[in-house]
C-alpha cells in the first residue's frame, strides 16, 4: 500500500540507482526473528507456567498489577500475563505462517496453471476466485470456523483457503505477463514441454515478486486469526493473542482495574503485525512489485 519511493542513493561512479532495504526493515526482521524464536522455544525457556495460578494471599485478590515478580502482571485467575503473551505467539505465528503457505501453494499453483493454459480452466478458476471474494473475508472465516472442529490445523486451513483467491489472482496476473514473452516462445520452439516451461521459465519470474508479498499476507493472516480468537472462534484449546485481549476486555470492570491483561498482548500483536507490514512493504518496493495488494 505504501506509496513512498524506496530509499535510493545514486552511486556517483556508475550512476546506477541502488536500492536499500533500510534500517527499519532490519529492526522489523530482528523483532520477527525474536518472535519466531520465542514461539519455537517457549516450552524450554525458564518462564512461569502460562496456566498455573500464582495466588499470593499477602497481595490481596488477583489480578495483580505488573511487578518484578510478574512483569506484565497477572489476570483474574492470577496467571502470569508475560508467560501467556509469549505463549500466545505460538498459535498466532503458526496459524499465520501455515495459512499463508497453504494459500501460496494452492492459490499460486491454480493461478499459474490457469494463467498459462487459459481457456475453460482459467474461466472456472476465475469464477471460483470471484465467488470466494464475494464474501467479506471475516464473514467467510466465521462461517467456516462455525462448521468445523477448531484446531490449529483447521484454523490454518480456513485462513489458507481465504488467501487462495487473492494469491491466485496475483499469480494468474503475473503469469499472464510472462506467458507470451519471447523467452517462453523460444523455449516452446525448441520443444520444451509445458511442464518444463512452467517450472523453469515462468515460475522463477512469478515466484520472486509473489514471495515479497508473503510477509504482507502473513500479517493479514495473523490479524485474521486474532480477530477470530477475539470473537471466540479460533483454536479452542490454547493461548492466542486475540483470546488474551478478549479476556482482558470482556467486561468494562476488568479493563478499568487491570488494563495490563489486554494491553500487553495488544502490544505484542501490534509490534508483530507492524513488523510484518513494514518489512513486507519494504520488500515489495525493493522488488518493485506494483499494482498488487492482498
Amino acid at each position: 500500500m505504501s506509496t513512498d519511493s524506496p530509499d535510493t542513493t545514486v552511486n556517483p561512479d556508475d550512476g546506477i540507482v541502488k536500492k536499500k532495504l533500510g534500517v527499519g526493515f532490519w529492526i522489523c526482521v530482528i523483532w520477527l526473528g525474536l518472535m519466531v524464536l520465542v514461539a519455537l522455544f517457549t516450552p524450554y525457556l525458564p518462564l512461569k507456567s502460562p496456566t498455573k495460578n500464582y495466588l499470593d494471599p499477602s497481595n490481596g485478590r488477583p489480578p495483580y498489577s505488573p511487578s518484578w515478580k510478574h512483569w506484565f502482571g497477572t489476570d483474574k485467575d492470577a496467571r502470569d500475563v508475560f508467560a501467556r503473551s509469549l505463549h500466545g505467539a505460538r498459535i498466532s505465528l503458526a496459524v499465520g505462517f501455515s495459512a499463508i503457505t497453504a494459500g501460496f501453494l494452492i492459490g499460486g499453483t491454480i493461478g499459474v496453471i490457469s494463467g498459462y493454459f487459459r481457456g475453460w480452466l482459467d474461466r472456472i478458476s476465475s469464477f471460483v476466485f470471484i465467488v470466494l471474494l464475494s464474501f467479506p473475508s471475516l464473514v467467510l472465516a466465521i462461517l467456516l470456523t462455525s462448521l468445523i472442529e477448531r484446531s490449529l490445523m483447521t484454523i490454518s486451513l480456513v485462513l489458507g483457503l481465504l488467501s487462495i483467491a487473492p494469491v491466485g489472482r496475483l499469480a494468474r496476473a503475473a503469469t499472464l505477463q510472462y506467458a507470451d514473452r519471447e523467452f517462453v516462445l523460444a523455449a516452446r520452439q525448441i520443444g520444451a514441454t509445458d511442464r518444463r516451461i512452467i517450472i523453469k521459465e515462468i515460475l522463477p519470474n512469478v515466484a520472486i515478486p509473489m514471495s515479497s508479498l508473503a510477509l504482507l499476507g502473513m500479517a493479514v493472516a495473523v490479524v485474521a486469526e486474532g480477530g477470530l480468537a477475539f470473537l471466540g472462534l479460533s483454536v479452542e484449546k490454547g493461548i492466542t493473542w486475540g483470546g488474551l485481549i478478549q479476556l482482558g476486555s470482556d467486561s468494562a470492570r476488568t479493563l478499568e482495574t487491570a488494563p495490563w491483561i489486554s494491553f500487553f498482548p495488544i502490544l505484542m500483536l501490534f509490534l508483530t503485525v507492524l513488523s510484518l507490514n513494514f518489512a513486507g512493504d519494504r520488500l515489495r518496493t525493493f522488488f518493485d512489485v506494483k499494482e498488487m495488494t492482498l
Binding site: 500500500m1 471475516l138 477475539f230 485481549i245 476486555s249 495488544i266 503485525v273
Partner: protein, 318 residues
C-alpha cells in the same frame, strides 16, 4: 447495454453460487436436527423422542432431499421470508430478527465510512502539500501504525481511553434510547472501524494528489498567484479523487468485517454481532440469512462501482 446485462447476469450467478455453497455447507457439515431439538435428536430409542424428531423433520422440511430444500429456501428468500430460527418453537422468524438489527449495522457502517472520508481528505491534502517534509513523514508513520493495529485492538484502546478513563463516551449501545443518544453511542464503534480505513484512504489519496500536484495546470495556478489552499481544494482535489472513490466503494467488505468486531465489543445488537452469536449457537438459518445479505450488498456495491466507472470512463465498456 450488452455490458450491463452481462455484468448483472454475472452478479446473479455469483449470488446463486454463494447461496448454494453456504446452504450446502451449513446443511451437510452442520447437523440441523440437533440444533433444533438438542440432545433429543440423538435419542432414537425413545418413542417420544422419535415422534418429536419426525415432527421437527416435517416442520423444517428436513425429510426432503437437499436440492429441494435449497429450492424451497431460495423461493422464500427472494420473497423476503428468511425462514425460522432453529429452536423448538421456531420463533422469532429470521426476517424479524434481521429487519430489527440490520438498520443498526447500516448506520454504523455509514457513520464509519463518513468518519473515514472526513478524516482522510484533509489529512491527505495537508500531507500531500508538504510531501517529504518532517510532518509528512510523521504522518506516514502514523498511518502505518493505524493500519497495523487490528480493529479489535483499536476498539479496546478507544473504549479504555474515552469510555473508562476520560468518561466522555458511553460504554455500550442501548437499543431503547432515543435516536440522538443512540447516534452518540455509535461514535466510538464507528471510529473503531473508520480510523484504520481512514489511514488506507489517506495513503491512496496522498499519492494521487502528489501526482496531480506535479502537473502543468497546477504550476499555472501557482504562477497566477492563487493561494495554496485554493489550489489544493479547487484545482488538485477533484482530479485526484478517481481511485479514491473506487476504493471507498469497494471497501465496504472491510467495513462489514470491522462492524462484526466493533458490534461485539460495544454490544450493539446489529447483524455482525448476531452473526457471531448465531454461529456459536449453531442457529444456521440466521447465519445463512446474514451471510446472504452481506454477500449481496457486497456484490451489488461492486456492480454499482463498476457501472459508475462506465459513466466516468466509457472505454471500460469496450
Amino acid at each position: 447495454m450488452r455490458y450491463y446485462v452481462q455484468r448483472v447476469a454475472l452478479a446473479i450467478l455469483l449470488l446463486l453460487a454463494v447461496s448454494m455453497l453456504t446452504f450446502g455447507a451449513l446443511n451437510v457439515l452442520g447437523d440441523p436436527l440437533f440444533n433444533i431439538l438438542g440432545p433429543v435428536a440423538g435419542d432414537v430409542n425413545n418413542p417420544d423422542s422419535i415422534k418429536m424428531i419426525e415432527a421437527a423433520k416435517r416442520e423444517f422440511n428436513l425429510d426432503r432431499p437437499l436440492p429441494v430444500r435449497y429450492g424451497l429456501w431460495l423461493s422464500d428468500f427472494v420473497r423476503g421470508d428468511m425462514g425460522v430460527t432453529f429452536s423448538s418453537t421456531g420463533q422469532p422468524p429470521v426476517s424479524g430478527v434481521i429487519s430489527e438489527r440490520l438498520p443498526r449495522t447500516i448506520s454504523l457502517v455509514v457513520l464509519a465510512q463518513l468518519f473515514a472520508i472526513i478524516i482522510s481528505i484533509p489529512w491527505a491534502l495537508i500531507t500531500a502539500s508538504r510531501a517529504g517534509k518532517v510532518s509528512d513523514r510523521i504522518s506516514t508513520v502514523n498511518a502505518f501504525f493505524l493500519v497495523a493495529m487490528p480493529n479489535f485492538a483499536i476498539a479496546v484502546i478507544l473504549k479504555f481511553v474515552f469510555s473508562i478513563k476520560l468518561d466522555w463516551m458511553p460504554l455500550t449501545y442501548v437499543a431503547g434510547d432515543p435516536l440522538g443518544s443512540r447516534l452518540f453511542q455509535l461514535i466510538l464503534p464507528a471510529l473503531t472501524i473508520g480510523l484504520s480505513v481512514a489511514a488506507v484512504y489517506q495513503r491512496l489519496l496522498r499519492s494521487d494528489l502528489i501526482t496531480t500536484l506535479q502537473q502543468d495546470f497546477i504550476l499555472l495556478a501557482q504562477t497566477k498567484g492563487l493561494s495554496k489552499w485554493r489550489i489544493l481544494f479547487v484545482h488538485a482535489l477533484r482530479p485526484s479523487l478517481f481511485s479514491f472513490i473506487t476504493v471507498v466503494g469497494l471497501n465496504t467488505g472491510a467495513l462489514i468485517g470491522g462492524s462484526i468486531v466493533s458490534e461485539t465489543v460495544f454490544r450493539i445488537p446489529g447483524i455482525g454481532s448476531t452473526l457471531v452469536e448465531s454461529v456459536l449457537r449453531n442457529d444456521f438459518p440466521v447465519v445463512l440469512a446474514i451471510v446472504m445479505i452481506v454477500a449481496s450488498s457486497f456484490v451489488i456495491i461492486n456492480l454499482l462501482v463498476d457501472f459508475a466507472y462506465t459513466l466516468i470512463d466509457p472505454r471500460v465498456r469496450r
